[in-house]
Amino acid sequence: MAQKKTGKKVRMGSAAGWSRDRFEPATDLMNRGQVDYLCFDSMSEVTMSAAQVSRMETDRVPPYDPYLIPRMEPILKGCKEKGIKIITNQGWLDPEEAAQQVAALALKLGIKDLRVASVSGGILTNTIGTMNLNFIETNRPIADSLDTVVSAEAYLGAQGIVEALKGGADVVITTRIADACLYLGPLAYEFDWSFDDYQLMAKGMVIGHLMECGSQLSGGYFADPGYKNVPDLANVGNPIAEVTDDRVLFSKLSHSGGVVSEATCKEQLLYEVGDPANYICPDCVVDFTKVSFKQIDENLVEAFADQAGKPRTSTLKALVGLTEGFMTEEMVIFAGPGALERAKGTQDLLEQRFKKVALKATEIRFDYLGINGVHRESSPAPIHEPYEVILRVAVKTAERSEAEKIRREIDPLAVNGMSATGKWATSAPGSRVRPVVGLSSCLVPRDLIRSTVSFFK
């Protein structure tokens, strides 16, 4: 299918790559990015279930991204004045409530005629057990685990965003949609793409996939001094995608740190991708092996995606959060001669103590930070006796009271442990025990999911 010629040029800035990303890129892109859209991704896989758990612990936590208002307040007026539209998935569990709050913020800031839209519909927490579905990981029926389900949400596609923009929205706040759809949505709206044209859907998803992680396209998460040098990482500029009928160009905020190169684009193209030839998205399947890049100028890369689309699947992926008990971790610190021996002796001591207090753990893990704390059992054996060793113990339990036993054995090491035992965060009050919400996934037939778009003045 040939794409209709619109003569348009659409510039989109990646204002945030996850919920706790930096704040200033949004303001910088608004002021100096000459963008038409600012897009905020606020989700990782665990975001929704973690929010659900926080709300189980205290009702003072909002059902949407707690950074929503702090992110919108500095830019809402400027974006309206400049005609920059805002697309964000910070609506989380309740995009309508989030949109109402942003509409209220607009009133407070004296912004006239700001149209805020919400896109909801993917929350399946109360219905997932009745859909006769199995977990992908275990192939067991979800219905069997119903008493432990705390959250379930599907990854929606970009159609709700298009509908919101067609309805005149200045700000679109969504529940969980596939991250890259934050960019596909505006493109499909601006260029009037048909959702049945999967080549265009794929083009939008390639752009969105590259942009969704913020500065990971423009020098963030890239620097390896002496191998991959990145200038002025402290002031890394967030990426900008410029899309016309015929071309896709990636750059970054001018006068900023970082780098946009073929290498940064290639790393991000494959980031968190399984089979690159079959990247399954809500609105199409993308073949990333058809994508290539060409450096046009300094910090300017053109992307090419030839026939990279395949038809969408009949299902949408959903994540299901399951309560799985509690976990906690503690650390004990050693240095100097015999550090490793004293750390090992402390592990032995703790194992005896755990037996003595009849600790009921479902999983216990000891790590030696400085030796095997990161690559774990794949770490090479140390060549030299390490100068410092931190012994870390992490435990999972079914009952909270069992997990609380760990710190009661760690804190006494200050007087009952090995010589020169250093302590970590002993003055932090309260418990370090936290509930575990495990994430599993399933595929939900599309016709079981209804997306709703609402508007708030």
Partner: protein
Amino acid sequence: MKTIPLREVAHSRSGEKGNDSMVSVIAYDIGDYSVLLEQVTIEAVQALYGPITKGVIRRYEVPLIGALNFVMTDVLEGGRSRTLAFEESGKALSSLMLTMPLQMPDNYVGRSDALKRAA
């Protein structure tokens, strides 16, 4: 021939989905893609990641950008939501890949020397 680490030939980025980690291997010079195809095999990756990978390791080829993409399944002790691992995200796993020893011609100029010469 000489033995040099993969870090001199390719760069890498890692991330996670569920309990799986994805680790890319991208040639600095696309001409070295054939080296990656021949030497960065599933067996060679197994030698590095085997002790922590409880599932299978899959390799995918992306020739247009001179890259391989690896998926290690069941490698994160349950995934970010469940893991007791200290590094819970898999984002630090790419640096393990870069330690892989490669056999390269004696006159091959690795990435670090190439950058020093260019400076």
